[in-house]
């Protein structure tokens, strides 16, 4: 398991998304909702160092308002637990769009 893959796993784990086993020929991984197991996307293993954490961090507001993440709402719930103040701010900033 490469360091980058571990970085990706850790970054997504924070927001309630798990990394599946390698898909296809090992370069790409499915992203699964940690709440219900549904596939919510995919990612490759050639991200640059520190990129995965930065990307997930930048997407916090989208998980918070339900613009990204599983329809079951798991990531929305997890991000609220991570940072309630930021989560509330995202609801106010994007009020009416989620």
């Amino acid at each position: 398991m490469s360091d980058i893959v571990e970085e990706i796993r850790t970054a997504y784990g924070r927001v309630g998304i798990t990394l599946d086993r390698p898909a296809t020929y090992g370069t790409y991984y499915r992203l699964l909702c940690a709440g219900c197991g549904k596939m919510v996307g995919n990612v490759g293993d050639r991200l640059l160092p520190d990129m995965a954490a930065a990307l997930v961090e930048q997407q916090f507001d989208l998980y918070a308002i339900g613009g990204l993440g599983c329809p079951c709402g798991h990531q929305r719930q997890v991000t609220r637990g991570l940072d309630a103040a930021r989560w509330e701010a995202a609801q106010r900033r994007y009020g009416g769009v989620a």
């Binding site: 898909a23 296809t24 790409y28 919510v40 995919n42 490759g44 050639r46 991200l47 990307l55 613009g67």
Partner: protein, 281 residues
């Protein structure tokens, strides 16, 4: 030999014609309005080189050509390319917004597999061992997470357009087999980019969708500009000198940026700082 290849491709062309809808192929309407892409003129003082399949190639030339084709990647014998196509199928199955979009993605995949056959033939004619070489995509743009249809739309809008710009440059290529297929690859890749843009237009029709798209633009825009490599790449003068490229990374990136910026503004999006989050300036 060439007659048989032409016949095979005619069958693919006919299948492609059967897949045509009001939307597909997306390149049709764009080219009907005129040439959508800039012209890249080679330096006037460049030594004239021209190599066809089977010609002995200078060692440096062969190395640069193979490097370029490894980067391109769309080869039937490149299992990493096929794996990447599988991720597109995965996404189309898991997060497609409607049946029409799913059908469009099926046409996209078929067309990319057509390219895989075209580049396979080119590879066999160049170096047989290369035809079955696995080359995972090295650039991070091919590995960015795609977590929504908007991510996938950005991937196509930006990354396939990168392919169209390079294919436009190949029109002037000194390697004849590449020059011959360049117009088809350019046209198709521009169509794939337009497909992504079409999806972005649909998504931006709602406030929620536009919010998501604006947010995700910050992820894709730097990657798109980074795909052209460093402006001071030491290999570029060699590529230009041998006639494998006409212009440098900075020039083609600038032309690309002008093109995408106009399209993004037309969507009502705010353009990110062009230097923010960039890794290859």
């Amino acid at each position: 030999m060439s007659e048989r290849v032409t016949g095979d491709m005619t069958e693919i062309d006919e299948a492609e014609a059967r897949g045509r809808t009001e939307l597909w192929p997306f390149w049709r309407r764009v080219y009907a309005q005129g040439d959508p892409l800039p012209r890249f003129a080679p330096p006037a003082n460049r030594a004239p080189h021209r190599f066809d399949e089977g010609d002995p190639l200078p060692e440096e030339y062969r190395g640069l050509l193979l490097k370029m084709l490894r980067h391109e990647g769309e080869r039937a014998g490149n299992k990493s390319f096929l794996g990447f196509m599988a991720t597109c199928l995965d996404l189309a199955e898991a997060i497609f917004p409607d049946a029409t979009s799913r059908l469009i993605k099926a046409e996209y995949l078929a067309e990319e597999l057509k390219h895989a056959i075209m580049f396979h033939r080119l590879a066999v004619g160049l170096e047989r061992d290369f035809a079955l070489k696995d080359v995972p995509y090295a650039h991070y743009a091919f590995h960015l997470p795609r977590e929504t249809w908007a991510d996938d739309a950005f991937f196509h809008f930006f990354v396939d357009l990168n392919g169209a710009f390079h294919a436009r440059d190949w029109r002037e290529s000194s390697y004849v087999p590449l020059a011959k297929m360049s117009a088809t690859v350019e046209r198709d890749e521009l169509g794939h980019s337009e497909m992504g843009y079409h999806f972005l237009q649909r998504i931006c029709e709602t406030a929620r969708g536009k919010t998501v798209v604006q947010h995700l633009l910050g992820k894709w825009y730097p990657a798109a500009l980074d795909m052209f490599g460093r402006s001071d790449s030491p290999n570029v003068p060699k590529f230009i000198g041998w006639g494998l490229k006409s212009v440098g990374n900075a020039e083609i990136r600038d032309a690309y940026k002008t093109y995408v910026d106009a399209k993004l503004v037309a969507l009502g999006l705010d353009l990110p700082d062009e230097r923010a989050h960039r890794r290859f300036l």
